[in-house]
Symmetry: C2
Subunit: 125 residues, 2 copies
DNA sequence: ATTCTTAGTATCTAAAAAAATACTACTACT
DNA sequence: AGTAGTAGTATTTTTTTAGATACTAAGAAT
């Protein structure tokens, strides 16, 4: 019986957090959507459409539904005409903010050293 | 001219860190691979194959090449038979460790509350 | 001589994700 | 009467991503 800690099959067999994380925030748009909702306080469908350059309506709808089903977003429907829907972070979604923050800070520094985030102060609210 | 900070087209047009991050760590296996290399010190192709339950050889090769091209991994070829190749984090890759750590900590707590990471201490090296 | 080992490559196929397109509802405004 | 506005749905097509399968090299062990 090896003492090598890397041979423990249980590690693989059991719930693997990173794997779950990938399945939850993977895809082309999720972290971007969360980022907008979390830091830029973007709440409405149309606003998100304009921000997420190149996304289609149906894709955005699907992503938002998934984020809602995974517990990150709350979707509030206003019974108005024209229709109004507001998206906001749930408590669970807010727990994810530090992760987004770490991601953003790293990306700014290492992926986009030339990029100056004009709303940096918002992130420290 | 609106003073609304959300109308600034430059924000969209310029390099968007989160978008880049997504394109770099997106996909089904990348953060998992990085996590294994970073924390479990898994370095060899075969070992990664065994860890990444369900991945195929060609997919793993492709992912590793992309991580190498994106600057995260260093690939060292030993001129031996049978072939030996070792993967390790570059300096750039190591700069990403805090992000992985934040991700992992959050996922453990919020996605897998029942999961007890048996190698938690490794993460605080 | 045959088999095992590792780390692949090459090609093809399947599945998943995203995009394109067309359509809806209800009201206000022109 | 026609158009704009918002937030969608439904369906099909395209693109992207990952998987399946077959194959290779070169020495070591049996």
């Amino acid at each position: 019986m090896s003492e090598n800690k890397f041979t423990d099959k249980n590690v693989i067999a059991r719930c693997v957090p990173m794997s779950k994380l990938q399945s939850v925030i993977g895809g082309k748009w999720k972290i971007l959507i969360l980022w907008y909702v979390a830091f830029y306080k973007v709440q409405r469908f149309g606003e998100l459409m304009r921000r997420l350059d190149g996304i289609t309506q149906s894709t955005l709808t699907k992503q938002l539904r998934e984020l809602e089903n995974d517990g990150f977003l709350h979707r509030e429907i206003f019974k108005e005409i024209p229709p109004k829907v507001e998206y906001s972070l749930t408590e669970f979604g807010e727990s994810f903010i530090p992760v987004l923050q770490t991601m953003m800070t790293w990306s700014e520094k290492y992926l986009c050293p030339d990029y100056v985030n004009p709303y940096k102060e918002i992130m420290n609210e």
